[in-house]
């Protein structure tokens, strides 16, 4: 059989295409079958008591603790900024709650924001490489910085602005005194965010921000445990969540 050059190129091109399509085809075959695991019965959540938080004027201990713990760089410019936990004016954090006669104290008091670790996280749904996902056993929205391709679709999909992209190499912007040897640094070109300190939970420690808050304005706990402090607070106090209408079921609750 004689094969012309053109036929050869075309055939080998098709063959390599076939190889590339193998994985997606398998995934498609599996797509409709959710991989169910037994429910572990754990759901991490956070309560932020804004009143207690506001009493500590200009306190940034939780932010500092978090950013130190996780080697978050400080670029000193808002364009490239990376933030895991930060403060935003109440009228920004809670658009829909804003009104012209809003309680003065609340209006001008910054509100602590972080990843909401949604039950229905839009960010994980859109990720084209499964580099971010909701951990089934405890509901934490995780990140794999080695898999992330830096497409920033998750940033576009997050209704809370909780995700930051490494526009430049973060390593030179972590001061040596601040450097935490026990936590990885990131590289340029990947997305990062709050992880509810899953690495600390694994060691039996509370999240860094919760531990750093002397006012006890942050309460972290398991919603599936009816006797947990967080459940008692949610039962007794009136709490609100950010953009509840979107159906994302955020797991950070605010006492105003």
């Amino acid at each position: 059989m004689k094969i012309s050059r053109r036929q050869f190129i075309a055939t080998s091109g098709l063959a390599s295409l076939g190889l590339m399509l193998d994985k997606p085809a398998k995934a498609l075959a599996k797509a409709d079958l959710p991989q169910k695991r037994p429910l572990v019965g754990k759901r991490w959540a956070m309560v932020v008591d804004l009143k207690k938080c506001h009493e500590q004027e200009n306190c940034t201990k939780c932010i500092e603790a978090c950013h130190h713990e996780h080697n978050v760089p400080d670029f000193d410019n808002p364009k490239d900024e990376i933030k895991w936990v930060w403060k935003e004016g109440f009228e920004h954090a809670f658009h829909e709650q804003d009104n012209p006669f809003l309680n003065e104290e609340l209006k001008h008091s910054p509100t602590l924001l972080m990843c909401n670790h949604c039950d229905e996280p839009p960010c994980t749904h859109v990720c084209p490489t499964k580099a971010t996902w909701k951990r089934e056993e405890d509901g934490i929205v995780m990140m794999d910085w080695h898999r992330c391709i830096g497409c920033r679709y998750c940033v576009a999909a997050c209704p809370y602005g909780s995700r930051s992209f490494n526009y430049r190499d973060p390593r030179p912007f972590i001061s040596e005194s601040e450097f935490n040897q026990d936590y990885p640094t990131r590289m340029r070109g990947v997305v990062e965010k709050c992880t509810f300190c899953e690495e600390r939970l694994a060691k039996g420690e509370l999240p860094a921000c919760v531990e750093a808050c002397e006012a006890h304005a942050l309460v972290f706990g398991d919603l599936e445990d009816p006797n947990s402090e967080i459940r008692h607070i949610l039962e007794e106090r009136f709490t609100i969540r950010r953009k509840p209408a979107l159906g994302t079921q955020p797991e950070v609750y605010y006492i105003v």
């Binding site: 364009k79 859109v126 490489t129 391709i149 497409c151 679709y153 209704p159 992209f165 526009y167 997305v191």
Partner: protein, 384 residues
């Protein structure tokens, strides 16, 4: 066949040389971006997609528009488009490659891009977009290759190609629909979360793509031996007229819904584009420019007396193309991010490196289309 691309006159080689020069300069800027990161672009924490992704979106439309010559020819047996189909398919091929280029330069970790295939995620629209855009490239490569080989040999194309051509028609619609879904499925971005985004993308595609084809066909008629035919070119003009009218209608519908309902979350994005928001008004002249071009082009196109003149048709086509590019190639993407989910108004404009890298990607596409057209023209010359 490809050797035909290596024989050309002085103008041809100057043109190729110029394209390569732009690619090299842009390539150097890309090296800078590769080493320093996307920080050298105008993108920021709040505006995370910009010029690159907007160009990608625009060019998916241009790619899809090949269907506007394929459909009348193959489904309605509209013979006048016979000579044009191959040009449309070649534009589609080059456009898809340009799209891939823009995705590549936009990635934070470009060498990990194959993770999309290694860890396929059917719940992500980006996965589907990759699949349909790549599939569309394959379809057009196969179709243009088979039909053109047959033409060269002076025989009818094999029968098995027909179903593939028919498949390429809904496939073209799908690539731009899925690209629209990429945006319109995001609850976080009220500006994009509108059912009309998909239809609007298609309308803009079917206006901008054929407008480009008109310009190319007119240029070829004047400067080469290839004549697509007066009828075919002016039929394309009618397609552009309808598609552009529908597009302007869709924009009106969109603006009405936002403005009349008055929901601040929806209206604020339109304010950014058309009136300025919290002192940020750089996009305002840009968007009104786009609107102005749209109106002038429609006035000239709807009137058959003006539309039937080659020069006015060409001028209108330029306006249509620019109008849509200004909207889809920048405004549409940026407005989705501003104001941000926490209501911040952040300024974005592309930087010099960003523009140069984009020009390089476009040059690569133009180079591909030049080579493909050169081959097609040479082969056709040798036939006749």
């Amino acid at each position: 066949m490809i050797e035909k691309a290596l024989q050309g006159n002085r103008t041809y080689w100057t043109w190729i040389g110029a394209l390569l020069a732009v690619m090299i300069i842009g390539g150097l800027f890309y090296l800078k971006q590769f080493n320093e990161g996307l920080t050298i672009t105008g993108l920021s924490r709040d505006v995370t997609w910009g010029f690159y992704i907007a160009q990608f979106t625009f060019m998916v439309g241009v790619a899809a528009s090949a269907v506007m010559v394929v459909l009348p020819y193959y489904l309605h047996n509209y013979k006048a488009f016979g000579k044009l189909t191959i040009l449309g398919e070649f534009i589609a091929i080059a456009s898809v490659i340009v799209c891939m280029g823009f995705i590549f330069v936009d990635m934070g970790q470009p060498f990990r891009i194959l993770n999309v295939f290694l860890h396929p995620s059917p719940q992500s629209l980006m996965f589907w977009d990759t699949v349909v855009v790549f599939g569309y490239l394959m379809l057009n490569v196969v179709i243009s290759r088979v039909t053109f080989s047959a033409e060269r040999k002076g025989i009818a194309p094999p029968k098995w190609i027909k179903p593939i051509i028919y498949l390429s028609i809904p496939w073209a619609v799908s690539i731009h629909t899925v690209t629209a879904f990429l945006y319109s499925g995001l609850a976080a971005r009220p500006f994009w979360m509108t059912a009309i985004l998909g239809p609007r993308f298609l309308a803009t595609a079917f206006a901008a793509g054929p407008a480009l084809l008109i310009l190319i066909a007119l240029w070829m008629r004047r400067n080469t031996n290839f004549d697509a035919g007066h009828d075919a070119i002016h039929k394309l003009g009618i397609i552009v007229t309808y598609a552009m009218s529908v597009n302007v209608f869709f924009i009106t519908v969109e603006v009405f819904t936002a403005v009349y309902s008055g929901i601040p979350e929806h209206i604020s994005h339109f304010k950014l584009l058309y009136t300025g928001l919290e002192g940020n008004n750089t996009l305002v002249p840009w968007m009104w420019g786009s609107s102005l071009f749209a109106i002038i082009s429609l006035v000239l196109l709807i009137n058959p007396k003006t539309r039937s003149k080659d020069k006015i048709l060409a001028f209108s086509s330029v306006l249509v193309f620019l109008s849509i590019w200004m909207d889809k190639g920048l405004g549409m993407v940026v407005a989705g991010f501003v104001p941000s989910p926490v209501g911040k108004v952040v300024h974005y404009s592309p930087t010099l490196p960003e523009v140069m890298i984009s020009l390089a990607v476009y040059s690569a596409g133009i180079l591909i289309v030049t080579i493909l057209y050169k081959v097609a023209l040479s082969v056709r010359e040798s036939i006749s």
